[in-house]
Amino acid sequence: VSRIPRGLLPVLATLLLLALGWTVSLRQVVQVRADMADLLPPGGTPAARLLARELRSGPASSLLIVALEGAEPEHLARVSRALADGMRRSGRFGLVANGAEGLDEGEREFLFRKRYLLSPATTPDAFARERLRSGVERVLRDLSGSAGPLAERYGLADPTGAFMALVSGWAGGSRVEQREGVWFAEGGGRALLLARTGAAGSTWRPAARRWTPCARRSAGRTRTERRG
């Protein structure tokens, strides 16, 4: 400050005030919105309206995928666990998943109960006599194999195979790997974490902003642990 000529100070102060005023008024005029749905044309058809509604309040608007990279897989896995724990504890997320826990009992139970509604194996002839007979025979055969406990739990009550078709349909297309007990993208360079913000609506940007510092903190913590 000492190098600035005295006479300039009032000018600088005025400029500063102007700049501040400018930002404040700009904020009032230009609303910053993070809603992707604004980019859509107004929905004319029911399908377009459904899409707009889903983008505003459906899963697409509240899901975050977090990728952690730039370290060894084992380190990334530790960060992923620490971050997921922190996010869960915060209570701000409806769901935090990083692969460390599979579907819990309640979720499995729910999917099993709704298997006929959800499964691609539910066809008009799924309950025909011959189909059911071959289904029961398959369950019996599976029971004798190494996946027997699975067949016992889900096969006996489901000879049409609806539940297994549902689950393997999901697993089959997945390229997410499990490393060090958590999800990684193919190749193992990036740990993946999935979160759903608690509030409905397009809150993904603020949420991401809030959680970036937290991720850095977790990373820092595990790094210090590793050194120590």
Partner: protein
């Protein structure tokens, strides 16, 4: 245990009989077991249908060639499966420490006819698996009996093959 730890590789025929609470008669399957120290274990079922389960370290591969089914999963992800794998693998490797990580281990008998009684340490695993009894003689496993919490019992009888 020390004698078992000296075995580098083994191959054996097995017959597995499962008595399930849900069925009136037992289910029988047969095939080959392969082991390579310290952590490879493979179970090839030949009848009543072809199936292959291979464990290498933490990775488990499950295959049913006739249907083109092939799945790989991590044992970390499935603690109950890990328990079962470690019961056989830990015994074959003569790795008492590995066994104790998952089970409270009881030993009785003589080196020529011994029995290990394995009770899962983890309460969650115990909800599914009650006890595993491993019978053997010298460095050979002869019988693995698995008693599940729901009363299902699987008995695997093993016959060493030198081929």
């Amino acid at each position: 245990m020390a004698a078992l730890a000296g075995v580098r590789e083994s191959r054996a025929a097995f017959v597995e009989e499962k008595a399930l609470a849900a069925l009136t008669s037992p289910l029988v399957s047969r095939g080959t077991l392969l082991y390579a120290a310290p952590s490879r274990l493979e179970k090839r079922t030949e009848a009543p249908f072809a199936e292959r389960v291979a464990v290498d370290g933490d990775r488990l591969t499950y295959e049913r060639p006739a249907e083109g089914v092939s799945r790989t999963l991590s044992l970390d992800q499935t603690p109950e499966l890990r328990g079962l794998v470690e019961a056989v693998r830990g015994t074959l490797a003569g790795d008492l420490e590995a066994l104790r990580r998952h089970y409270s281990v009881g030993y009785e008998g003589t080196p020529d006819a011994w029995r290990l009684t394995l009770v899962p340490v983890d309460a969650k695993v115990r909800e599914l698996l009650k006890v595993v009894r491993v019978d053997g003689g010298g460095t050979d496993l002869r019988r693995v009996e698995t008693v599940e919490a729901d009363g299902d019992v699987s008995t695997m009888t093993i016959e060493p093959r030198t081929r």
